[in-house]
Structure formats: structure tokens, C-alpha cells
Symmetry: D2
Subunit: 342 residues, 4 copies
């Protein structure tokens, strides 16, 4: 099977990562690459690392440009996916890397995004309970946010096993590509290098309701989330430090066993050997997630830490993995669990 794929929003970081992965996918042929303000420019200038596509010219994002593909990846600013998607036929697999179709609760959407809710699509995190089944044969996929990917993978085993109290505290560090290519002063290299800085503190980050949705589903009860994202001086990677009070009677063996069971057989998510902790370097450029967990007996908390590449497993890799499942291809096709390190 050869799959013809288009990428809408090909000039940004998510679009570039999609193209990088699709170039290495043995069953994908890259069709249209589209953009908005950069339409008409060559990829050589916009994405100089994509050497094999250097001579491709960005088409405007339009129904005409996106027609005739088996799969269309959307890497658009939030709020723009619905309009594009509804012009694509129901037989086309649409994989949305934006937030538009991730949340089930319309009120959450409106509270955090300030616009009408577009709907809910099958959620592209196959490692969650029931996650794979929801994607098989689907023609619409909502790719999770990068932080929710990291956080959900770190904490769902504890919640699914009933080991943690429903109040999660999360502090995550992200590389700057998570903020996109927007020209904002605090994203300048001079500001970023040598600096750690928090943002969206106090519950305001838009990925918060998505984490709540995933963790509550795993727990079978509402989970509150205190989420603090920080910007780290690196281009890629998320390290999510997640914790919750352990339910009474929980011991370290039970925690370990729950994680081993929940993550067994996953091709991309790996529970590290005891004593070894995740690093973002180890998953750089790969679709892998590293997980480790510990029980702090003095504080009575389960500490689960995950490392992913925000652009790969956190965005484009997760998108391709979900596409593979939806199309009935081998789940690992075109993806690698090997990081680029050092």
C-alpha cells in the first residue's frame, strides 16, 4: 500500500517534523505541502534540514491543494482545523496536530480557548487504555498535545491501578520548539540560552483540561491537576515530573508492578530499569518515551517522570503512529525508538 499524504502548515516546526518522518516512511508518498504566509516559498529556505524536499514549493492551504490524498495532516494554528477538515471527504484520513478536536467537554474548550467547540475526534494516544481500539479504522484523529502526551504516559498507570490520590502535581520542562516559530521576544536565542522560565502558572495552560480528561478517564474519577510548564534552554524535549499522593497501603512493589503491567509490550514507551531515570537527550528525534517511577516514603508520594521529544512522540511521531494504526499498517512503520544522542 502506498499512502499519499499532504501536510498543511508545512513551514512550522510541527509541519517540518511531519515531513521529516514521512520522508522516512516506506509506505508514504509526500504529496502537497501547504502554507499560509509562506505560500510560494521553497522548502530549501524554510526547512533547510529537509534536503530531499528542498525544491518543493509551498502551495496555499486550500481545498484544491489538499484534494486527492489518502491522508491529510493538519499542523495549523488552533481553531483553523475544523474549516479545513470539513472540506475533505469522509474517506480521507485527517490527522489534526492542533487542539481543536482533543477535548470532549465543550465547556472546557470554551473556557480555555475562547471559541466555540468544534467537536471531538478519536484521540491519538494508543498507549492509553482502549486507545488503540479507538483509532483502528478511524478517519479522523486528534493528535494529543505534547505536554498531555508526556504527562498521561507518566501517570495513567498509577491512576489505572488505583494507587494514587486524584490530585496530581506536575512540573514540566519543554524545549523551545514547543512554542513554535512565532517571533516573540522571550523566544529569542539570547533570552532562552542559559535560562529556565515558567509560564502559564496557576492553572492557565491550555493543556491542563486535556491532562485532566486523560487522567480522570484512567482513574475512573475526577482528577485535579496542578500544572506548571517551564521553558528550558534546549530546542526539543519534554521532561515531565509528575506526582500524586499514594493511596494508603501502597508500596513500592505495587507501584512498580502497575507500571510494568500498564506499559508491557509497548513499542515506543519504555519503563526504564530501576534506578535509571529518563533524559530528554535519550529520546531526541525519536518516537520513544522513557518512563520511571518511584515511591517517596517520607512524603508519601508517587513520583513518575517521563521524557519525550515534543515534536516527535509529542506531535508528529504520535501523529504517524496513529495514522499507521488507523490505516492498518504496522504501528512502528517509519518510526524509530532510537534517540539521536549525544
Amino acid at each position: 500500500m502506498t499512502v499519499r499524504a499532504a501536510v498543511a502548515g508545512a513551514s512550522g516546526y510541527a509541519g517540518g517534523e511531519l515531513l521529516r518522518l514521512l520522508l522516512g516512511h516506506p509506505e508514504v508518498e509526500i504529496g502537497a505541502v501547504t502554507g499560509h504566509s509562506n505560500a510560494g516559498q521553497r522548502l530549501a529556505a524554510l526547512q533547510p534540514h529537509l534536503a530531499p524536499l528542498a525544491d518543493r514549493v509551498l502551495a496555499p492551504t486550500s481545498p484544491e491543494a489538499l484534494a486527492g490524498h489518502d491522508v491529510v495532516f493538519l499542523a495549523l494554528p488552533h481553531g483553523q482545523s475544523a474549516a479545513v477538515a470539513e472540506q475533505l471527504g469522509p474517506e480521507v484520513l485527517v490527522v489534526d496536530c492542533g487542539a481543536d478536536f482533543r477535548l470532549k467537554d465543550a465547556a472546557d474548550w470554551e473556557a480555555f480557548y475562547g471559541s466555540p467547540h468544534a467537536g471531538t475526534w478519536p484521540y491519538g494516544l494508543p498507549e492509553l487504555p482502549g486507545g488503540r481500539a479507538a483509532l483502528q479504522g478511524s478517519k479522523r484523529i486528534a493528535v494529543p498535545g505534547c505536554y498531555p502526551t508526556a504527562v498521561s504516559l507518566a501517570l495513567f498507570p498509577a491512576y489505572a491501578a488505583g494507587l494514587a490520590e486524584p490530585e496530581a502535581v506536575i512540573v514540566a520542562a519543554s524545549g523551545t520548539s514547543g512554542a513554535g516559530k512565532a517571533l516573540k521576544p522571550h523566544l529569542l536565542g539570547s533570552e532562552v540560552m542559559g535560562s529556565m522560565s515558567p509560564y502559564g502558572v496557576g492553572g492557565g495552560h491550555r493543556h491542563t483540561p486535556e491532562m485532566i480528561q486523560n487522567l480522570s478517564a484512567a482513574a475512573g474519577e475526577p482528577v485535579t491537576v496542578s500544572f506548571t510548564p517551564t521553558l528550558a534552554p534546549m530546542p526539543r524535549g519534554i521532561l515531565a515530573t509528575c506526582s500524586a499522593k499514594a493511596r494508603p497501603g501502597t508500596d513500592a512493589e505495587a507501584v512498580r508492578a502497575a507500571y510494568e503491567k500498564a506499559l508491557a509490550g509497548e513499542p515506543f514507551v519504555r519503563l526504564l530499569p530501576e534506578g535509571q531515570w529518563p533524559t530528554t537527550a535519550a529520546v531526541y528525534g525519536s518516537n520513544a518515551a522513557q518512563i520511571q517511577v518511584a515511591l517517596d516514603p517520607a512524603a508519601g508520594r508517587i513520583i513518575a517522570i517521563s521524557a519525550i521529544d515534543n515534536l516527535t512522540k509529542g506531535t508528529a511521531g504520535g501523529a504517524v503512529q496513529s495514522m499507521n494504526i488507523a490505516l492498518g499498517l504496522p504501528e512502528e512503520l517509519g518510526l524509530s525508538a532510537t534517540g539521536v544522542a549525544p
Copy 2:
């Protein structure tokens, strides 16, 4: 008054930072600079940034070398300070940048450091309640650890005002100089750049009992601490993200007021204007601490974040500030609240 100061352990990062600050202190004359394995070498090679001291040669750390000074700073590996200090007369001000004399509880010391407890000296964090008074006229000072400095400054106002439940959750990112100059593979530049990595997870970091000591003192009751340190790809700086459940009835105004009151008049610790968050870049190379606090209404938690330079306010700057207080000099002498940015 001219103060003659010696630095024992002058080849490491803490020793280098002490010398950098003392070079700019108008009342200090730098006397002996000593080392252990590097004795006999010139500072030009060991600390090439200390141009005015380039021709100084490291003496061996010995009673003879350290004799005849008004102040002796110790920047030695943990466990070595007591032996050196007891050879210095009671009239000499000894400022220990190591951990040996920080903890009041001998059992804590032994549990975390595995050696007999050497004792407890006045604690060099003047911003804590009663902190300044304890230092005035003292001849022995235990400089706080870098993480406890950042964490205590961020959370003591909430605990002192009785606004927070006694279970703190802390995730801190530190620049690599916090790990010292030890030649360990994970500290190589190739490993560090582009990577965030946790360590000492689950309650094992030696700074944990020191944080518990400080926060419990502020709260007037035992506080548990879940502390996760992470190594960030930057040479200096600590960003500490600290949170605790808000006591029932606590509102944002009460939190703000508590922090304004607790930090009012501090020369180096600054509560930022509402909406602005600390960054490690802003305090780079300075003795400043930036603090901000928020109440997350959905999660019911107080989130307090601090940024310091681990080598300056977190070590050598705190040491000089405490020296100034102990000697009756103006507290800000030779120190700056201005960061080196960008």
C-alpha cells in the same frame, strides 16, 4: 575596616565564585587561596576568568596557610569543614559553604550523609524569620545549600502566614555548576546540552532535610517535602517550582499580601510585579532572588516560584552577605542585585 579573607577550596566552582565576589568587595583583601589536589598550580589555569588573581598560586589547605585572616571561607567537600574549622581560633569568622553545620538534627545528618554530625552553626539565610539576628556578631556561619536557599525563599512566606498545608511539592531545575567540577560522565557537555535529567528522585537528595528544617520552622509545625531536582542545560541558575495545598479559605489577595509583607525591604529578594515570573537569566551572576506566587483555584494550590544563581545567592553571594552581617558591615557591600543578561 579592611577584612583579610582566605578561601579554602579555591579551585572549585564555589571557591571561584567566592574569589570573584571578594575581588569586588571594597572592604576585603584576599589573602590565602588554598587547594588540595591542585595545590601548587596558578589560578590562571584553574580559574581563567579571575584575571586579577592570575598569578596567585594555590597553597595546600593547612592551618599555616589559613592563619592570620579575619575571615576564612571554606568551600570544601562535605565532611571536611569541621577538621579545618577547629584549627581556626574562635576570633576568626569561619564561613562554611559546605553542608556540615547546616542541620540541627543529628539523626537527619547521619541518615543523609552517613557520618557523625559535626554540629550546628548559625544559618546564613538572613531573609528567614529571625535570620538576620542569628548572624550578627557570629563567628561561625553555615551557608545554606543552593536548593534550600531557592526553596525556602519561595515558600517561607506562605508557611509563616499559615496559608499552606504542611506538604510541599518541589521540582527544581539547576544549572550544572551546582554539581561541581567533578569529572563524571553525565556532566560532560555532550551529555548535558540539549538534555533535562532528574536525579535523587524520591526523597534521596541531601538538601531535603534542610528544606524540611526551614519550612517547618516557618510553619511552626512539621512540613513534609517531596523534592525532585533536575539538571538543566545551562551553567548556572536554579528555578524552583514549589507548591502546597492552600489552607481552606485562603484567597489570592491573602497570598499576595503574605508575600509582600514577608519580603518587604529585602535588598536582594524581590517579589515580582503580578503577572511577571522569575527567570534564571535575570539573576545570572547576581545575589538577587526573584519570587512570584499564584493561587491555582481549580487545583487549590499555592504555586511559588523562585529563581536564583546557585553559585551567587545560592552559595558564595549568600556567604558574603552573611559575612557582611556578622562583621557589622552594610549587608549589600560588594554584592549586586543586577543580573548579567542576556
Copy 3:
């Protein structure tokens, strides 16, 4: 003597560094701080590292705002200094950090900057032959460019001693603050970290004629310059690798002797001990320049390398040093030769 100083262009990196240094200058009182698009904003948001000036509000850059100062520093985009300067009286010391008054040759100016030449002011690099004398008592100072500062300090001793052929080849790496705070895609942290990239290759960089001017003056004959600047993944610092063919008969001893003689007694420029090479880390945040030189016998070339902080010795520090000389203050006042490292 207390000097009242204004800074025009206080929201950029050069302006911020000027303020950082002036805050530590014992004879300077900071008067007006002005900006253009940021007028009306508080420095707390624009320059969060300048804690002591947090509550200052940027005035618009206007004759009224700049009136009544002993010294006015201009940190404006190229081409704007002349208009501001001519509104300041001849008794005011005007120190221009821009390029407008650096070049003596109007044709050079017009070829590289594309606008009419504004004139030539005394050149603020006191270490050059005759440099100090030209600044004493001057009321107008053109601060050198950052690259010309690094390159001229590295090569003038060889040319002044007649040891080098008049064809210099220079490759320099600069931290990103040298490019200013402009919001350009290639300056985003995501693009900069992990990347070295050249620009202005082939003779087009505007600092080239300034280097030619300085080296030709030292040599007493026209010197050609092949200059390639590169952007390095660090916020500050310039490492300039400069070379030229050695004149026949030149040996290593003669080269060393020429550098020792040319740099003897300089407070900020230091010829390193043989075998030690400059690093930008060692001069971070300081007004120091480190220099080393070698003779490559096989290639027949003199290799001179310098390291400076582009914002300090390369801009604001050089400006303050020149101000000190012009005003008859001690040249080192308010400046440090100690770097902030690691």
C-alpha cells in the same frame, strides 16, 4: 565628581548592558532612560535583570528627555545618532555605541551603509596606538563595533611591529546578543541552539571597513581583510581567530615580544601565558580581553586569537572605559576584568 548620565535606546541589549555597568559605577548617577517603540514601559518588564531600575519608565528619546546630563550614551539603530547628537550641546559628552561616526572614509561608509556619512568622532579603543590620547578631554566618542574591537586587539600588535603581511584572514564566532533584540526567525532559540551558522560571508559585513581602517593604521600600509562572522549558540562572547602570513624572517620569539610590548600595562587586555588560549567564558560579563598568539611554522602564518564579551568590552564596557578617559576619571572605574564563569 558625580556624573549624570542618560541612556538613549535603553530597551535593547546594548542599552541594558550600559545600564548594568553604570549601576556599578561609583561616580555615575543614572538620569534619563529613553526608548522609541517601548517608551512608556517600565524597565521591570523590558530588562528584568536590572532589579535596581525596575520601576524606571522609558521616556521617549527626545531633546527634552536627554537635556541636563553630563554624558549621553546612544544605543540607537545605525543612522539615528547624528540627529540626536546635534541637539545636544558641545559641553555634553556624547558616547555613540552605533556605527555612525566610526569610519573616517565617507566612501566606505556609503558603500557599506548606503546613506550619507555623518562624520568621524574620536575612536573609543584606547589600546590602539595613540588611542588613549585621542580620547582625553573629548566630548564625542565613537564606540567601536564588537567584531572590530576583538579583531583589532588581536592583530594590531603584529601589524604595528611589521611582522605580518597586509592580508588578514579572520573568522569570528559571536554570541547571539550581537545581533540585537530584533525579531528575526534565525535568531529564535530553537534555531540557534545546537547550531553554528555563518553570515555576511565574502566581504559584506559592515564591520569590515572598520577593521581595515584599524589594521591599516597600525601597519602603516593598506591591509586587506577577509572577514567571516559566524553565529554561535551562546548569548554573549566573541572569539576571533585572526591570521596573516608572517613576514620573511619572523620567528616565534619576535611575535611574542611584539605582543608583550604592545599589550604591556593594559588594564583590560591580557596576553595569556604561553600555551593557554582565550575562551569567551573567561571574559563573560567583563571588560576583559584575552589574547594569545602563535606562529605556525609549516603554514608560515601568525595566528592571533582574542576573546571578548561583545556587550561589555565590545560595546558598553568599551563605552564606559572611554568615558572614564574622556572625563579624566580612573580608566578602570566601574569596570571589571573578572569574568562571570563558569
Copy 4:
């Protein structure tokens, strides 16, 4: 054809990169992985990014461990390859990533390495004139040094076309992985981040004779090389800025034409569109080389700049590319020209 490959020296950076690439090579099965001081350890700890090999245990580097493979890659310290290679049969393809067999001139070897010359093997830079033919069917391959790869690709077109004078001046910046995993103080992250530093200045770097060998062969006459390597604050990548005086009468069109001709059809080496310059970020983790060239009319020099990943095209990727040629496999198999960016 399935090729069974062993990697000797699998715990270092070159060994890790070889394994990363071989994991993605469709015709390679990874056999023995061996080490010296790390023998007995699992790759999970030594190379945490190589998730699919996590449970592999390093065998000691011995004839027994290396027996029974079609290809043996040597990633050993200089001077150790000959002893290992001579125990491998002539039917085994031995690919040496060390320096031992790169130089043709025994006197050069002895002058720069201080030990007896082991011999000369076919040189694994297929893009050089005659390079591919020398590798076809070969059972012994000397992989070029990382710097010589970058420099030779940048300058051989100018020399092969007779456009440049035989005196090359090269300044190159390398990521820290080029220095390997050795535990040296100047390679610590705290020292490296924020710093550019030169080393081996004045003709002493061991890669110099290899550059001279390649450029002289291209020129058909002896070429001198002034080579200055610098360490840049990034984990990977080399940016080589190379120049030479243009021969009289050379114009920009002739230079461009020479490069277009010399690099036409190369799968991994790409002459960028005019006006676009190489960046190390664009080739991160890939086997690609980006090249650009300009003629500086004022200085009369040809400036050629290349960017490669030192571990990929500069070591392990070049090794695999040469293996493919030697074995008659498609040259691009298992290799990518797509960088991992941002």
C-alpha cells in the same frame, strides 16, 4: 543480502552512532558489541538512547567476540586498530573509524602521532575524485577524520579546478562530541556552555596532515594548511570556514561552476542555492553535508563553508556509506540526508 556487523568500541560516541545507524540499516544485523573498560555492562546504561539494544551486554574486544561477522567496525582509540584488524581474516570487511590507516606518508604519521605507521587503507570519502572507485570491493576502509571530511568537501572543488592558490586557511567549530567521552575538565558542561574555545592552534592538530593529503591530491601540487579548530557549545556538528586566495583571473561564475560540477549527483553533499549558507542544525543527525562558496572580490579570496554532523557524515555515517560501496549495496542504504531540526 543480510550483513552481520560487529562494533568494537561500542561505549563511546562513535560506537554509539554506528549502532544508531546500523539499527536503521535494512540489510544489517547487529552482532557483537564490544568494549574495554565497560565490558560486562549493559547498553541501557551506557547508551540510553539506543532503546532497541538496551539489553545487549558489552563483550570484551577480542578475536573471539569479533569472529563470525561480515563487517567489523572499529571505534577504538588511535593506535589500537592495527592489532585488532590483523586478527580478522582478509574476507572480513574492516572499517576503521580511527586514524591509524588514513595517512599515506609514514613520516607525517610519526610526526603527529608519535608511533610507527601501521599502513594505509582505502580512504572512505567517496566524494573525492576517484574516491568511490577506491572503495568498491575493498575489504579495508580508513574512515576520514571529522574535520578532514568537512574541510575536504568544502575545498576540493576549488583545488581540483585549479582556482585556488595552494595555501588554505581553515577555522572550524566543532560540537563537543568530537572530543569523545573522555573525562577532561574542559569538556564539562559547565565549562562548555556559553563558551567558544580554540585548541591545537598553530598547526598542531592531528587532522592537519590528512587535510594536506586530500587537498594536495585534488590540486596536484602541495597545499599548505593553516588549521584552527574551536570547540563550540553544542553536542554535534562541524562548521568549517575555509579560504584560499583565488588564482588570478578567477571570477565568481567560474567558482560556482566548479562547485556545481564537482558536487553534481552526490547523494549526500549539497551545494546550497546561492545566498543560502550552511548551518550545523540543518545536518544534525544526518549524513548530509551542506556546502556554499563565495568569492570575496576585495580580499581576493575564495571562501568555502561546509556543515556536517561530526558523528554522522564525519564518522559513523561516512563509515556506513563506505561500507555500502564496498559491499556493492546502494550507497544511500540506511542513511538519511534529512537533518533533525530544529
